[in-house]
């Protein structure tokens, strides 16, 4: 009967894990923890070290009570360095004794495919990251910390297990498949979450008849990292004190009087008393006059600025400062005559 081997949680969590903005603040604190306010620099060696730690930690393989050792450096060109990390599992011929796990890094590092940081801000411009309060002994101020967008890189790693037993490669395979069940795993390097993707595996086991038989299985990974160089960070002082000044013209100018808004009557009425047959009116505006009322008028002649305009017209066009003169012929000379025009202001 299967029994749980892992210990059940000894306590119940009393607080909820942080989410959304609070979680983002928490991650930002992780990035700058134990240092300055700025994020820690992240370069190739940091990413390589992080991957080695990932293999040592997350992919730790224990078979029958013994841990499969990991060669804890990336073997490079200096031949003696292999011994430094493998002396404790060498045989009498000073050969590394299986089982062991080793990490190979492809030397070429290409521009990364991490979509969050690729090709979206040109020219490595620096951006506001944080403002930090300062005190120079006399007054408070602020420093503005600016950093450029990190440069994405993809680093290819191969993790190889060399062993003599099938159960060792089975266990290692199980751990890798469980770790990468969601295609990717994360390694926290200097506070940054760096995704690692499993690209596949290959078997290079040596099973020749006339040779020593052993298993080699290689797993390929891509670390989707980014480069963040602290030499690119900018710290510049912010404004600590402002002095606001206004300049005004002391010369007084006479204010030009505004022209009064004409009080436009809705209509113009011309009352011709007894004995009067001619009336004039000057207009200070442009309008159209339309005849709306005519009493005791047989006919009428219209003059504008003493120029004959027409007779018995129902509509008269008036321009500003025009002098309108209307001469009428009454039906009954003993009565008062009236002409009333409506005004349409133009």
């Amino acid at each position: 009967m299967a029994l749980p081997k892992k210990q059940v949680k000894p306590y119940l969590p009393l607080t909820y894990p942080k989410t959304l903005l609070a979680r983002r603040h928490q991650i930002a604190d992780m990035i700058s923890n134990d240092g300055t306010y700025l994020p820690k620099s992240l370069l190739h060696a940091d990413l390589d070290r992080g991957f080695l730690d990932f293999v040592k930690g997350s992919l730790e393989t224990i078979v029958e009570g013994s841990k499969i050792p990991v060669v804890d450096i990336l073997i490079t060109s200096q031949n003696w360095s292999q011994f430094v990390e493998t002396w404790d599992f060498q045989n009498i011929d000073k050969n590394v004794e299986p089982p062991f796990i080793t990490v190979i890094r492809n030397p070429e590092v290409k521009y990364g495919n991490n979509p969050s940081v690729m090709y979206n801000i040109p020219n490595r411009r620096t951006y506001y990251y944080m403002q930090v309060p300062t005190w120079d002994g006399q007054r408070n101020g602020m420093d503005i910390y600016k950093i450029p967008q990190p440069v994405p890189i993809d680093i290819k790693f191969t993790v190889a297990i060399v062993c003599n037993r099938m159960r060792e490669i089975n266990k290692f395979n199980q751990i890798i498949n469980q770790t990468f069940a969601s295609r990717q795993a994360y390694q926290v390097i200097k506070g940054h979450y760096i995704p690692i993707i499993n690209d596949g595996m290959a078997d290079e086991s040596v099973m020749d008849v006339d040779k020593r038989k052993y298993y080699i299985q290689k797993y390929d990974f891509t670390m989707m990292g980014f480069l963040l160089d602290e030499d690119d960070f900018e710290v510049s002082p912010a404004i600590s004190r402002t002095f606001t000044m206004f300049e005004v013209d002391l010369k007084t100018k006479k204010k030009k009087q505004r022209r009064p808004i004409p009080n436009v009557p809705p209509s113009t009425t011309l009352n011709y008393e007894v004995g009067v047959i001619e009336l004039s009116k000057e207009f200070e505006y442009t309008c159209n006059l339309s005849l709306i009322k005519s009493e005791n008028v047989s006919s009428y002649d219209i003059y504008i600025n003493d120029f004959y305009y027409g007779s018995d017209l129902f509509e008269i066009q008036i321009n500003t400062n025009d002098l309108l003169k209307i001469v009428i012929v009454k039906n009954d000379v003993n009565l008062v005559s009236v002409l009333e025009f409506s005004e349409d202001l133009l």
């Binding site: 060696a45 070290r49 060109s77 031949n79 360095s81 430094v84 000073k94």
Partner: protein, 170 residues
């Protein structure tokens, strides 16, 4: 303590005394007559300071134990005139050095030569070229390295040229 098992093969006409005599005569020839001298710089892996990712040190950062002179039969491969990889840079690459050294010589000097150690070999009175051990010949069970199948008696150590950027005995 390891149990010593006497070697009795070829015992009808060859034995330990004959073997030792042959080695003595060979050493007399190699050391007394030939006298090819190499200088061994053993990397002091306890004192060396390496980075924890690549296990590398910078120029002149390699710590080594006191240099030891030893005699060996030296063969140096002819240099090759070639380009560096796919670059257009041409260089005259010195060939590898093969040093055949008596096991007894190593025992007498109480030294061991390991992978990655450095060896200096004087080309002339005022010029020494350094090599790094790429094959320390530690496994010498094959017939060539035994005295007619009786016991191993020498190691073939292969060194590859290093530039002063990696090692220059400082």
């Amino acid at each position: 303590m390891a149990k010593n098992v006497p070697i009795t093969r070829l015992g009808k006409f060859f034995g330990e005394e004959d073997f030792n005599l042959e080695i003595d005569m060979g050493q007399e020839w190699l050391i007394g007559d030939m006298n090819f001298t190499c200088v061994l710089y053993r990397v002091d892996k306890n004192k060396i300071k390496i980075d924890d990712v690549y296990g590398e040190v910078l120029q002149d950062g390699i710590k080594f134990l006191p240099p030891v002179e030893f005699n060996a039969y030296v063969q140096i491969v002819a240099p090759t005139n070639q380009k560096i990889g796919s670059t257009k840079i041409q260089q005259y690459e010195p060939g590898n050095i093969t040093m055949s050294v008596y096991l007894k010589t190593l025992d007498d000097l109480d030294i061991d030569i390991n992978l990655g150690d450095y060896v200096g070999y004087y080309d002339s009175e005022n010029f020494v070229r350094y090599y790094t051990v790429v094959d320390d010949g530690r496994v010498y069970s094959d017939l060539k390295h035994t005295y007619k199948g009786y016991k191993p008696f020498f190691r073939s150590i292969i060194g590859s040229y290093v530039t002063p950027d990696e090692f220059r005995a400082l």
